[in-house]
Symmetry: C2
Subunit: 152 residues, 2 copies
DNA sequence: GTCAGTGCAAAAGTTTTGCATACAG
DNA sequence: CTGTATGCAAAACTTTTGCACTGAC
């Protein structure tokens, strides 16, 4: 029996291939490796960190940092990844196919933790209604100092 | 009679001076100009944009980009400004001492409505606590279609 | 007078681009 | 074959740092 996560990844990959094809772009080994690495470490990465991980995991495949940047931009334009950045660290990317969530970000070390809160989403709906808006989306980020940095 | 905004700025300035004094730092003309520019254009700026504005507005005062960066860092550590960034552009700073409010933005006409909701703020505190973060701030923007645009 | 702040320029770090080659379609 | 993608290196940006000098306290 196939594992759930593999099915999930396959769908993601198929979607990526499809988008590439529709835009006359090419599917390459490098692009697959980048997508797979993003998928199998489902977190937030700077392009550089992603690059280093790939270098370590696939030493024979000589991926260049430029390709990582270029591919991330393609992925972002295709809405497969989203980027956010904060504080002193640079831009970070994450897979965008996850169920909705928001972020809490450490102002000191840049660590990002995801959370989801239905009650807040409901309150947002209410606020929109009170102001006669039809809600289409939101952006919410909390800023603070993480546990680790507090103790320093 | 003194204008409200001047009183507000004076308070901000006094607070800044106070923080500087308490930390054995010095109040300089450059620092004042940077704070004033941030205040009088209450929006979000990249360090570079801020630098250019200051160069244009105070051509005689020869402010260096390094000073802008250094001052922004001081201001951020003092919680007078907060920084955040989204999308492709770099880090942006904004004054953080404004009376707190969030925004609902119409995706169609760009109209911005301010709101405040204590219940959401409380929930945010709770979320931070659950993740062992000490909350220092947040950014929340709701996107939607305003009443006016809906009827079109 | 002392010591933090400043401008400048150099350095360090990040992201993009030009180019010749490789390779997917 | 054609034209996009790639790796490399250089270039373009962005941010930080070293240093001698200035200026706030």
């Amino acid at each position: 029996m196939k594992k759930l996560e593999n099915i999930e990844y396959d769908a993601l990959l198929a979607n990526f291939k499809d988008i590439l094809k529709r835009n006359g772009l090419k599917f390459t080994l490098q692009r697959e490796v980048i997508l797979k690495t993003l998928y199998s470490n489902n977190g937030h990465f700077t392009p550089d960190a992603l690059y280093l991980m790939i270098k370590e995991k696939y030493p024979d495949l000589n991926v260049g940092i430029a390709t990582v940047y270029r591919t991330l931009n393609v992925l972002e334009e295709s809405d497969i990844v989203t980027s956010l950045s904060f504080g002193s660290q640079g831009k970070k990317f994450e897979l965008g196919n996850k169920p909705h969530h928001d972020h809490i970000i450490c102002k000191n070390c840049g660590q990002i933790v995801e959370f989801e809160d239905k009650s807040i989403e409901k309150l947002q709906e209410k606020i929109a209604k009170n102001n006669n808006f039809k809600l289409t989306g939101h952006l919410m980020q909390l800023y603070g100092i993480c546990n680790n940095c507090q103790s320093k």
